[in-house]
């Protein structure tokens, strides 16, 4: 799309009286969405179904388009009726939305916090009652089906289908009295299912460590099952880089990595279907759509796309666009001509999972200033200022400390990992995963530990362990802090925090803190202005927010609420699966977002160095307050 300065127009919707401001040139449908109204648009806003009728009360809209003249009756046109999806606005306008055009505003609570959206998937089902073909009119089987479609749903258009679907259609159309459900996607018939069977879809979040999949009823938007498996690529290297290096060896190796994820997704689909109770059992033929998110490297590896560019500067993705391909081309075994939709990415290190997170939390919408942070080895950050049309994104390599990597007694969040540490009556109390005797520290435990060391004065503002403080002693490789004595651990050895561990945490937290600070600086945003900080991802959800603020990992934002939202990427994927409008919005997020290359920002390195320090202690702040 060519860019030209959008002017804004005010739109008022009657009889509800809702107002919104949109860019000049937006359609009434888009303005409705902005205003939180859900107008019926069966055809996906393509001017075909004629369902989104509205009347312009005052203000200047364009004269009717050809689509409108074709779809609307003459008397409707004369009465000023228009299609919301075709009518563009260039001046302040007042619009009447008849009751029939108002969607039923079905709002859905997915697993976790998310923005409001309408359930109306890209893939739709239409029940067809087979009648006997007329002897006099020799209409092809496919035309008979599409005519019923058009009659029953008011949709018109030029439909297409693959030979295998045409084969199935013909088989059914020869059985008068039967009923089946036609599965359509845009203008393509992609399959059909028996009788009234519900249409299913799967949302997939490909993580470096884990692949999560959610089985959804795409007609009602309800989640039916969820399931996760370790990413089978782990056998090629636990970290991303080793897998990228392996894929670089050749096409065969890249295919190997691709097949391995594809096989994982196939397995997840089988498991999801098997996990349904017998009363609600469903078969693979009911699968109608797939929606995939993941970081850019994961998505590239999943589709066997070239990843060489992701390994060397200037770090180029093969593509960041959304991708729609037949499931079979993506190695997913399903009957029917099901497609896989991969959400768009923003850049080589700000992937589709981040877009999904922004979508899930509606960070691009509304009018509040917010920060979104997905902390991990690679941390993605977004600063949203809808008031300025700004959506700044950046990624920073925080290193593996947050996942327990490079930490002497670090471990994953497995049973026995210390996940939380509190100070109880002057003594440290540890909480482990599964309540088992401690074996080591996972990310959130490490943050808590360092925060408490700082709180207790066991380290100074440069992070140096202070000899003579309780618990600090000399170890094999410099100073260390004794966290759990051998007799209380699961393996009979002391669990300590070393000076080196503290340095690792300092580097990691500095990367995140300096990145956030730089984004605030670029957008001239004062910390006071931030109204919300969203912490996404597994680590972000377990993180102690207080500890994080105390050590300066997260900024102390006086007017913000801190939200820990869990697997927001998965929620975004589910939304894009069951809502065409959400899928479209994901595209808008990717287009709207600006990638900030932090290392190219003046002063970033200085910020980074400063941010390794520890901020003023809580007590001291309180004393000053």
């Amino acid at each position: 799309m060519l860019v030209h300065k959008p002017e804004q127009v005010k739109v008022t919707f009657q009889p509800v009286g809702t107002r919104t401001v949109v860019r000049a040139g937006a359609t009434v449908l888009e303005a409705g969405r902005e205003a939180g109204l859900i107008l019926v648009a069966n055809c996906g806003g393509n001017g075909l179904c004629g369902r989104c009728r509205v009347t312009i009360l005052d203000g200047r809209a364009e004269t009717p388009t050809r689509a409108e003249i074709e779809v609307l009756k003459k008397e409707e046109l004369v009465a000023g009726q228009r299609l919301a999806c075709r009518t563009t606005l260039y001046t302040d306008t007042s619009i009447h939305v008849p009751r029939i055009t108002m969607g039923n505003q079905q709002r859905l609570q997915l697993d976790g916090r998310h923005a409001v959206f309408t359930v109306e998937a890209c893939v739709q089902g239409h029940v067809i009652e087979v009648t006997k073909p007329a002897q006099k009119k020799t209409v092809s089987d496919f035309d008979r089906v599409t005519h019923s479609l058009e009659k029953a749903h008011g949709t018109v258009g030029s439909w297409c289908a693959s030979p295998s679907v045409l084969r199935a259609v013909s088989r059914w159309m020869r059985e008068p009295g039967q009923r089946f459900k036609l599965v359509t996607r845009a203008n393509e018939v992609i399959g059909l299912v028996d009788g009234d069977k519900q249409l299913l879809g799967v949302a997939v979040d490909i993580g470096c460590t884990k692949i999560a999949a959610y089985l959804m009823d795409i007609e009602t938007g309800k989640q039916l099952a969820a399931c996760g498996i370790p990413n089978p690529q782990i056998s090629f290297g636990e970290d991303l880089i080793s897998r990228l290096v392996y894929a670089r060896k050749g096409l065969h190796q890249a295919q190997e990595l691709a097949h391995c994820v594809q096989a994982g997704i196939n397995q997840l689909i089988r498991t999801l279907l098997q996990s349904l109770p017998e009363s609600a059992s469903a078969g693979p033929e009911q699968m109608a759509d797939l929606c995939v998110v993941g970081n850019t490297a994961m998505v590239h590896l999943f589709l066997g796309m070239p990843t060489e560019g992701l390994l060397v500067a200037p770090f180029l993705a093969a593509t960041t666009s959304s991708i729609d391909i037949r499931a079979v081309e993506a190695g997913i075994d399903l009957p029917n001509d099901v497609y896989v939709h991969v959400l768009p990415a923003i850049g080589a290190f700000v992937g589709a999972d981040h877009v999904a997170m922004i979508l899930a939390n509606g960070l691009h919408q509304g009018n509040h200033v917010s920060l979104g942070v997905d902390i991990g080895t690679n941390t993605e950050i977004v600063l949203s200022r809808p008031d300025q049309g700004l959506l700044l994104t950046a990624s920073c390599p925080a290193g593996p400390a947050f996942e327990g990597g490079h930490i002497q007694h670090g471990m994953r969040a497995a049973p026995g990992a210390i996940e939380k540490i509190t100070l109880k009556e002057g003594c440290l109390a540890v909480q482990t995963v599964g309540g088992q005797p401690p074996l080591g520290l996972c990310g959130s435990g490490i943050i808590d530990a360092v925060a408490l060391l700082w709180q207790m004065g066991a380290i100074n503002f440069r992070g140096h362990l202070q000899s003579g403080t309780a618990g600090v002693r000399d170890g094999d490789s410099g100073k260390q802090f004794l966290l759990v004595e051998a007799e209380n651990t699961g393996h009979g050895r002391d669990i300590v925090i070393s000076q080196q561990d503290i340095s690792e945490v300092q580097l990691a937290k500095a990367a995140v803190a300096a990145s956030i600070k730089t984004l605030l600086k670029i957008s001239k945003t004062d910390p006071d202005e931030i109204q919300e900080l969203v912490l996404a991802g597994a680590f972000g959800s377990y993180l102690g927010v207080g500890s994080s603020i105390n050590i300066g990992l997260l900024p102390d934002l006086p007017n913000a609420t801190y939200q820990q939202v869990g697997n927001a990427a998965g929620i975004g994927a589910k939304m894009a699966l069951v809502s065409a409008a959400s899928r479209e919005q994901a595209g808008r997020v990717a287009r709207l977002a600006t990638r900030v290359e932090l290392k190219q920002q003046e002063g970033f390195n200085r910020e980074l160095a400063l941010a390794t320090r520890f901020p003023v202690r809580q007590q001291e702040k309180d004393r000053h307050a």
Copy 2:
């Protein structure tokens, strides 16, 4: 599309001064085509490329659409510039077409007679010069390519590509200084070729007996090679019905028939490429598009679509729509993501080949009343009355007599077949295929023979051989006429025309004649009004037109020219391959055409019975004149 009575508007194009009348609601681009002007429309008339700029001089056009506002600059909009493809006309309008918008009107003479068309294929090539990626801007490889596309060609849009194409794009984009040609189809990048290599396409006409293929340069529209092979399905039955019966046995059998044609097309593509001179050699990676025609049964068998409906009343095709599928899904082995386009059909017995014939001869255009006839075992007939917006089509099973079937000494048009018979100084003179001693009669020879029998008075108006006439004698199974004595034949046996042969010809010619007569009656067309009769297909091209009129196979049309146009279906396929406008017109032909079910027409059977008779002899007519 909803139907409402179109009103007509007059359009004048300046500075050329051409005028035309189109239906209200037509776009300027469509009006231009009607007026014979070829306006540039790189994006295929989708409002994307901005090349079809025109200025409205007077008359009321709609206010600019959103696409126009996006593509045109503000000053251009203010100056009244519009996109011809987006501007719809509802009143008489005068339009200025700047020189830059006028296509170069490249008109092409394909092999045979055909309507005028523009060479501008659906698939396009765009040369990309690879530059070094900027270090500061991390734009994905694919985005860099599409940006160059947009910069060089003024096209904007949201592009997509499959992982395998993305892989190839990334590989090339890492080689600064190189150049390659990107192959696009609508908004998809379907492949790329080395440097400046030309893009090729193949037009295929799948006949029951023969598959013909034409290798075309789709950028210039030039034919590079042509080739034909017997349809390998012949091993499953020489006639259509036996193949349909075989396919009905099961999916496996249907697939067998499909693979067999697909293998034939793969072989043809290899042969076509190998037949190129070394100086113009080309590889399969240059193949960018395929366009296929054939009768409905052949198309169904080619794609493995269900054919059961074609065998029993009411004779239903699985589909008559045009089909676009990836070549690989149609069993065609080609690199890149090439598609196969199959032209739409009109009905179960009026196939894509007939649509291609109408397209090739422009029978749906212009303003003259015409008849198109493709004579064969199944004869298709079209009556076009553009003045009434009528395009009536019908098929009649004329039986195999025209192909030498069911005729005692009938044979295919192979060497030794009598193809022409003339009366020289009272004696019959035969001409054979290849000038070899006669072995039998092919279709055109049979028609000539019967016409001469009638001319000479050897048969009466009911077709009965008249004893006592020279050459008529008693044979084993009733009367017969001695055509060539044993001593003059290639096999040393007499070649005769039996009473039974004459009856077969009578049945066949009656079917064609009664069908034509019925179409004339339905459309209230007087034979005087017909200005052209087009005879298409192999048989129609060799047929003696005089003999055909004499025996009443073809009507005697006083004001018509008779055109024998050869393989018009193949020409139509070539046009639809190299011209997006022609492809679109094929769709229009299929939509516009009305199928007439002859057997359901009142009086058809009576016409059929009457048409078995022979008409008044030429001499007698002359005498009366």
